[in-house]
């Protein structure tokens, strides 16, 4: 059985999680393949919730698969698609089935996804969601009703250390820390100095919270430019785009893996943060290559 994520956070020097993106459709064989491949190589599998506002198999569904296959799931919950009733109901279901790690996110806008005419919800925001989960942990729902049965979620959230301007983001991080989180998973970082400054900022407020640097390997200059324009919260610096542009054709994936592993090594060796969260979207099977190149296998 997998080690509970909270215990990992408390005991492990360098925590490694990877993203598991749910499938588009009812055929979950690909998701299971990724779970089987990664479950023993990482400390947690973090399952996205209609990532980029694209409708998919639910986060909770894949989390249950992770559990069934002996991995440790982290349930992503965004505020975009569900109101406070639906979020609480889903969380009760999750906890009752042993899915007890939650990552609280705002959620991308409907406009970036594949159902652009849908009504977006945002009944809660991510700070309110963190408070809500503490309320559930205390045995009550948001309306103050007593809940039957114990609940004790391990709560995490996200942050964007590369935001410009950064100050409004940091105020939000302060509010998330004040609400109480056990881990922060950052948006993809490409400038380690930015991550260092972010960690220093957090440490002034909270010396216990674990910070996992976000890693999204970039496999080509074109992809980098596309991400800068289209992926909310991602900022890839020009020197990396130049490095990728000089890569010979057909070696982009290897280069992306090399850069990611280089960053992870530096994060670990210089103790910049407490771990990493690897998001190799659509190429989950390559995550072990990154781990190996980073000396984590």
């Amino acid at each position: 059985m997998a080690t509970p994520f909270r215990k990992i956070l408390k005991t492990k020097d360098f925590v490694v999680t990877a993203e598991a993106a749910p499938v588009k459709g009812s055929n979950v064989s690909k998701a299971i393949e990724h779970i089987e491949l990664l479950k023993d190589k990482v400390d947690g599998l973090n399952v996205t919730d209609n990532q980029s506002s694209v409708m998919r198999y639910p986060s909770l569904g894949v989390c249950l698969l992770v559990k069934e296959h002996g991995g440790e799931p982290v349930l992503q919950v965004t505020c975009r698609d569900r109101n406070r009733l639906a979020i609480q109901a889903d969380l009760l279901f999750a906890y009752s089935r042993g899915v007890d790690n939650v990552l609280c996110l705002t959620g991308d806008s409907i406009d970036v996804g594949d159902h652009k005419e849908a009504k977006q919800v945002f009944d809660l925001d991510s700070v309110q969601l963190i408070h809500l989960i503490h309320t559930l942990n205390s045995g009550q729902d948001m309306a103050g009703n007593e809940l039957d049965g114990n609940i004790d979620f391990c709560i995490g959230t996200t942050a964007t250390p590369s935001a410009d301007p950064l100050e409004p983001q940091l105020i939000k991080v302060e509010k998330k820390l004040a609400a109480g989180v056990e881990f922060i998973q950052t948006q993809a970082v490409y400038e380690l100095d930015e991550l260092k400054r972010f960690v220093e900022f957090v440490r002034k407020m909270d010396d216990k919270v674990k910070i996992l640097g976000g890693i999204v390997p970039v496999i080509g200059a074109k992809m980098a430019a596309y991400m800068n324009d289209n992926v909310p919260g991602v900022f890839i610096p020009q020197h990396l785009i130049d490095e990728l542009a000089q890569t010979p054709k057909g070696t982009g994936v290897a280069k992306g893996i090399e850069i990611a592993a280089r960053m992870i090594r530096q994060m670990r060796e210089e103790k910049i943060c407490d771990g990493v969260h690897i998001m190799f979207i659509g190429r989950e099977e390559k995550v072990p290559d990154i781990l190996e190149a980073a000396g984590l296998l």
Partner: protein, 219 residues
């Protein structure tokens, strides 16, 4: 004020296709100021309809009329005679105006000629921006007078999302400002950033029970 936009001509033509005598009814208040449904726009639509139907060899008689406020029964009553003469009305007022007219002339089809879009203000000539979501529980005292309910694309109450673009622009549109960056700058200027550090609990989204109804207090 209420901002509206003229509906596409094809949609208006489709609504009016069965009719030969139609009244184009304008409103002299909000939709006049936002160039969607005042006297001038009534005249333009009337001409366009005449030309379009003439080109299709399907002549139409168009009458034109405007009232100061289509959302008030007494003012709509002023054009009763004209409404009586036609088979249908196309109203260029906001949704409240269309419904007032439709309620007053129950035997007559009244069609919307504009899409009512938001409560806002002119930012510059010909450009209107949304300012208020009529949520019934005003939050502006906490945000330096900038509404995050409608000016943040996600209506967030505790600060920006992680998708803010470089320079403080919105995740969904580089031409729009991130409301929370604007709020930050405004509160910083006023020395009131503590307001942004406060935690705001989930909003009461039922402050106005739909359909809204307010009874004035007795004097």
């Amino acid at each position: 004020m209420i901002i509206a936009e003229r509906k596409p001509m094809d949609e208006i033509k489709r609504m009016l296709a069965p009719y030969k005598k139609v009244l184009v009814a304008g409103c002299g208040t909000c939709v006049t100021v936002c160039w969607a449904g005042g006297e001038k726009e009534v005249a333009i639509l009337a001409s366009q309809l005449r030309l379009a139907r003439s080109a299709e060899h399907n002549e139409i008689s168009i009458f034109e009329a405007s009232v100061e406020r289509q959302c008030e029964r007494e003012m709509v009553a002023e054009i009763k005679d004209k409404v009586t003469e036609v088979e249908a009305v196309i109203s260029l007022a906001c949704g409240a105006g269309v419904q007032t007219m439709s309620e007053m002339f129950e035997d007559k089809p009244v069609f919307p000629g504009v899409n009512t879009t938001f409560i806002g203000m002119p930012e510059k000539e010909g450009l209107w921006v949304e300012m208020c979501g009529a949520c019934g529980d005003c939050f502006l005292d906490r945000t330096g007078g900038i509404c995050p309910i409608v000016r943040c694309a996600k209506g967030l109450l505790n600060g920006p999302c992680g998708g803010t673009r470089k320079g403080g622009k919105c995740e969904i549109d580089p031409d729009k400002d991130c409301a929370w960056v604007l709020i930050y700058r405004r509160l910083e200027k006023q020395g009131r950033l503590d307001l942004m550090r406060n935690y705001y609990a989930p909003k009461n989204y039922r402050a106005v029970k739909r359909p809204g109804r307010i009874q004035a207090a007795k004097a």
